[in-house]
């Protein structure tokens, strides 16, 4: 938004920074401020009187330029100029943007007393200019010679760029912002004065709205006998500063009015409209239209078109059709100023992948009341700058005029809601500054919402208007003094989850965070069979890619990816865990939400890491969570080494799986060292956790320690030996601890030696040696009988 333009609508002396700050705090956030012309001095309008080839250089020209007070010889490399052109001339001692200083000098032996400037050298965006202005000198209209370029082009300006929230499409215009400026800085807002000189000739055009559900209003006017040419320079400059490409006087006027009033307009070449009859209707299935960008669009009946009696001539609210485009030969114009249903425009523009300045405005739902003014404004400017005649009669098809929104609000309630103590008079003042009409009715206010503020529909909206102009930061802070006290505490489940995390950290595992998407490739890599339930994953309709199209059903691939990342970066000791959700649908496609299961995943590699270090972590977790009676059985899972992996059972429940990753899987990940990993269902761990500890008296009587070492078959689980010891020893066994497992010299092939320490203890008396001997011998016998274990 150009600040110099803004000043047409509101008298404001504050500088750009102060305006930006004020508007940001009242709700129109300023993103950037761009200054134009500030560093430009001593650049004037000149006219080329003669132009000759440089005697010593093929690519240079020597020109004589009349700058009013004198005639200067200037050397240039540009090729787009000719005698008679008006151009910007930087005189000796001139400054240009970027700290450039111009001095007189010699170029290949020829004196050059200044520089002819390009648009870019003046700080303008050349890409928005027509072809002949690019890559060369900026060719000007015939301004007075010697005129300061800043003055000629009204260059000096600050342009503010806003972040306009979707509820305020009215602020996508000069007048919208000007209203905000006026209210924020307590100034007066002035609407542009619009007067149309109609000729006697009656308007010949007709408009029919067929799709009244998608087009709420259609206003049109005919301007005859226009002369297509460039628009005035000041208008082009304003468009340029707003990032809009000047095209010709007619199109520029429509864009200018759009910027000024926020209403997108379109101009049709009336003579190409069949029977001068505009019909607003749904497109026919498969109907074709070549839009202004030269592309053929295939339409369907969900889309709205502007048509004549023969065919579609425009895609409503998105882009005009090539068949009725304004060209250099156009003489009669139909101005369209219409109001369309925002969601339909968005739908069409999305479906065709075609967004335009107009569609992005219509999408947000515009004010139908502005259409007439915008049409009149365009007619006024076309008469003035396109040499046209405005025909008599404005067409205005408006089947269902919108009703005014009138709200009854209560100042006391608003104060209580905001936590303020504003007098009613101040609220009224604020609302009136925003063009709301306010009538006091007893304790209430009857507020009429201005037509351009369709976002205001309830009392809370009025409260926001008051709050933002009073200043959010002027509202006094408070700490819920009217509210009831509440308990701030974690639930039992949340405490247990934190506890689980703490155990894993205490075991030396580092916490990682990975993404939730996977692809079948990830499952392939960890050897998941095609019929596995892990393959029945929730699928995203519009994923970023096939590899990220499923919601993960396992965390293992992510652990291995991270292991690979770290291994390839030469991280030698790797111990990690992640606590995150897996998503298990009951049926596909989803009818209800899938089960989201909090899962612990673990991964480890490194020189002191083996199956048992991983198992130690898992045992520590169960110990802290108070889960007793966990059993480990061989896991039959293709992701894991068959002989070095275990399934964790608690009664009938599977709590998880862990072990050494299968060598095939590691090959898939290109990891040449053993990796240990696992997944544990944290929800179940939390469900079975028992942290309600009770104190056990410390033993009063001493324990008797006996060691036992037996030879057993190599494939007998240590757990089985321990089980026999515990069963046989009964209550008098205080503790059994494995202290050695040995295979090798002195042990027969296929056997192993297993050694336990057994502590015998009674809580009621001191055990005698004789008693202990009896039990211990029973254990030796039982081991022999049940497992064929021989005492060593």
């Amino acid at each position: 938004m150009s600040l110099s333009w803004l000043k047409e609508f509101v008298d404001i002396d504050e500088d750009a920074k102060a305006i930006a700050e004020g508007l940001t705090m009242s709700g129109s956030k300023v993103e950037t401020i761009t200054s134009y012309g500030k560093e430009i001095s001593n650049v004037v309008v000149g006219k080329i009187i003669s132009l000759e080839k440089h005697p010593n250089a093929d690519k240079l020209l020597v020109g004589i330029v009349d700058v009013g007070t004198e005639k200067l010889q200037i050397v240039t490399g540009a090729q787009n100029i000719k005698v008679g052109d008006y151009i910007p001339v930087a005189l000796h001692g001139a400054t240009l943007p970027g700290g450039v200083k111009i001095k007189r000098g010699k170029l290949r032996g020829i004196e050059s007393n200044g520089m002819m400037c390009s648009a870019e050298e003046l700080g303008l965006d050349e890409s928005l200019l027509p072809e002949y202005q690019r890559n060369g000198i900026f060719i000007l209209p015939p301004f007075p010679l010697g005129m300061d370029i800043n003055e000629a082009l009204q260059l000096k300006d600050d342009v503010l760029e806003f972040e306009i929230t979707p509820n305020r499409p009215d602020c996508l215009s000069m007048v919208g912002i000007a209203r905000e400026v006026a209210a924020t800085f307590k100034k007066k807002f002035k609407m542009p004065v619009v007067e149309v000189n109609e000729s006697e000739e009656q308007n010949p055009a007709k408009v029919t709205i067929e799709a009244t559900d998608l087009c709420f209003r259609y206003v049109a006017r005919v301007v005859k006998n226009v002369k297509i040419g460039p628009s005035p320079m000041w208008m082009q400059m304003r468009l340029l500063k707003a990032g809009i490409r000047p095209i010709n006087n007619v199109v520029d006027v429509t864009n200018y009015v759009m910027l000024e009033l926020g209403q997108p307009l379109h101009a049709f070449d009336l003579d190409k409209v069949e029977n001068k009859h505009i019909i607003v209707r749904r497109a026919r299935e498969g109907e074709k239209l070549v839009t202004l960008d030269g592309k053929e669009r295939i339409l369907d009946s969900s889309m709205l078109v502007i048509a004549d009696e023969k065919e579609a001539i425009g895609l409503a609210g998105v882009m005009g059709g090539e068949n009725t485009e304004i060209t250099d030969t156009t003489v009669n114009i139909l101005i369209e100023s219409a109001n369309f249903k925002g969601s339909n425009i968005r739908h069409t523009s999305k479906k065709l992948g075609l967004r335009s300045e107009a569609s992005s405005r219509f999408e947000k739902g515009l004010d139908p009341e502005i259409t007439v003014l915008a049409c009149e404004r365009a007619a006024q400017l076309m008469e003035k700058y396109c040499g046209g005649t405005v025909l008599k009669g404005l067409v205005d098809e408006y089947p269902k005029p919108i009703e005014k929104t009138v709200l009854t609000v209560n100042p006391h309630r608003i104060n209580r809601f905001l936590g303020t103590d504003l007098p009613t008079s101040q609220m009224i003042e604020i609302l009136e500054s925003l063009e709301f009409k306010v009538v006091q009715k007893g304790d209430d206010l009857e507020v009429t919402v201005p037509h351009f503020r369709r976002d205001v529909t309830i009392e809370a909206d009025i409260a926001e208007e008051i709050a933002r102009l009073f200043g959010y930061n002027n509202i006094e802070d408070s700490l819920m003094k009217n509210a009831q006290t509440t308990l701030g505490a974690l639930t039992k489940e949340q405490r247990l989850e934190e506890k689980a995390r703490e155990v894993l950290l205490a075991c030396g595992l580092n916490e990682i965070v990975t993404m939730s998407f996977m692809g079948h490739k990830d499952l392939d890599k960890i050897n998941v069979p095609l019929d596995s339930p892990l393959r029945k994953a929730v699928k995203i309709i519009n994923p970023l890619g096939e590899d990220q199209s499923l919601m993960r059903t396992t965390l293992l691939p992510f652990i291995l990816n991270v292991a690979y990342t770290n291994y390839s970066r030469k991280v030698q000791d790797f111990k990690v865990f992640e606590i995150s959700k897996i998503f298990m649908p009951k049926e596909l496609p989803l009818k209800e939400l899938p089960q989201e299961i909090k899962t612990i995943a673990i991964g480890m590699y490194g020189k002191d890491v083996d199956f048992y270090s991983l198992k130690g972590v898992i045992e520590a977790l169960f110990e802290v969570m108070g889960i007793k009676g966990v059993e480990y059985v061989r896991a039959e899972d293709p992701s894991y080494h068959p002989g070095r992996s275990a399934k964790i059972l608690l009664g009938d429940e599977t709590l998880g799986i862990f072990g050494e990753i299968h060598p095939d899987v590691l090959e898939n990940y290109d990891i040449p060292v053993r990796v240990y990993g696992g997944e544990i269902n944290l929800d179940k761990v939390i469900q079975y956790a028992n942290v309600e500890n009770r104190y056990m008296p410390l033993p009063k009587y001493p324990a008797v320690e006996r060691d036992i070492a037996v030879l057993v078959d190599g494939d007998i689980f240590v757990k089985a030996v321990e089980k026999v010891i515990l069963e046989t020893g009964g209550k008098l066994i205080d503790k059994v601890e494995l202290f050695d497992v040995y295979k090798g010299p002195n042990i027969p092939e296929g056997k192993k030696s297993v050694a336990f320490s057994i502590w015998y203890r009674s809580y009621g008396r001191t055990l005698t040696d004789e008693e202990v001997n009896v039990i211990h011998n029973n254990i030796v016998e039982a081991l022999d009988k049940k497992l064929g274990a021989k005492l060593r």
């Binding site: 709700g27 969601s343 999408e363 926001e464 965070v513 990342t565 770290n566 111990k575 989201e596």
Partner: protein, 339 residues
């Protein structure tokens, strides 16, 4: 005999004082006071004394014994002390050598940030609510006053699973679920993963983390919103932190605001972290829209409330000066172990 005893004492004294090890002291004890020691030898001659001399000599002998014993103990202590000092002197080690490493795991920086935030809000009487990441469209949009054709839906690129199930784009659906389940007073925060269809780059990720806050009760004001968020800002970013509330727009709050905090890197003077503005945008907030209350079964005539939402990833990056979001998801242990 008296002479002998005196001589014995003098000899003992001389020898004891010249002793320089505990072993020598022990040897001297045996030599003079032992069962076969010199004192015993002398005392054996007591029998030849006159009866009236015996008590006198006996007393002298006792005195000599006591003196020798005293001397022995004293010297022994002295030597022991010296030996201890000598040992200590010999035991000096290089205290600059590294300690024996104990392994402990590092919490992901995002979890650390979240923990800190949780503690602040738990102290303010908030509890923690959780909700599904795969969510009904209704909870993510409609119940948050964002119907199908609402322009705000455009701002969010949503991953869909079916036409009415999606990956939640915000933690706000938990607000609705909380209000449906509980009657006021409600005071919850709800951290979690959210999803938007953005390719990953230095500042965007299709998966990121938000935390929602919600307070609903009778008489909750916009001043309360400011008060609570100001306390949060000061506790989290430091007591000197200033805040600024700017009007903004969210479909589910009215009035809506964004909160900026004074830049904690430069204190508000302007630097690279804050883009030379002195302020950093931290969160979005607002008074819960009456439609949202009503749809969740809470009477907006009776109750009011405020809600806020902030990005955990973003705050983590700001807090630790992390410039690339991808680092948070890459899990290089050399990165994680810095926290």
């Amino acid at each position: 005999m008296e002479e002998l005893l005196r001589k014995l004492y003098e000899d003992a004294q001389k020898e004891i004082l010249s002793a320089d090890s505990l072993q020598q002291i022990e040897n001297l004890r045996v030599k003079y006071l032992g069962k076969k020691g010199e004192l015993t030898q002398i005392l054996r001659g007591m029998g030849s004394l006159k009866p009236e001399e015996r008590p006198v000599i006996g007393q002298i002998a006792n005195e000599v014994r006591e003196k020798i014993e005293g001397l022995l103990t004293e010297t022994k202590n002295k030597i022991a002390q010296l030996e201890k000092e000598k040992r200590i002197k010999s035991e000096y080690i290089d205290i600059t050598m590294p300690g024996k490493p104990y392994e402990y795991g590092h919490k992901h920086p995002m979890t650390q940030v979240l923990d800190e935030i949780k503690k602040i809000f738990l102290g303010l009487g908030f509890s923690i609510a959780e909700g599904p990441e795969i969510e009904f469209t209704y909870y993510n949009f409609e119940a948050l006053n964002t119907p199908e054709d609402h322009p705000a839906r455009d701002l969010q690129d949503t991953f869909y699973v079916t036409s009415d199930i999606l990956l939640r784009t915000q933690t706000s659906p938990v607000q609705v679920r909380t209000m449906e389940k509980n009657k006021p007073p409600i005071r919850v925060i709800s951290p979690g993963r959210v999803y938007r269809s953005d390719e990953i780059d230095a500042t965007h990720s299709p998966v990121f983390h938000q935390m929602e806050g919600l307070v609903v009760d009778e008489g909750i004001t916009m001043g309360d919103l400011k008060g609570v968020l100001n306390i949060f800002a000061k506790k989290f970013f430091g007591e000197d932190t200033q805040t600024k509330f700017r009007p903004h727009y969210f479909p589910f709050t009215e009035p809506s605001a964004e909160m900026d905090v004074s830049c904690f890197a430069c204190g508000g003077k302007g630097c690279r972290v804050c883009g030379y503005t002195g302020w950093i945008e931290i969160l979005g907030a607002g008074m819960v829209h009456p439609n949202v209350l009503r749809m969740s079964g809470i009477d907006p005539e009776k109750y009011s409330g405020f809600a806020f939402g902030l990005g955990i990833d973003r705050i983590t990056m700001l807090k630790y000066g992390i410039e690339d979001l991808r680092l948070l998801f890459e899990n290089d242990l050399r990165f994680i172990q810095q926290f």
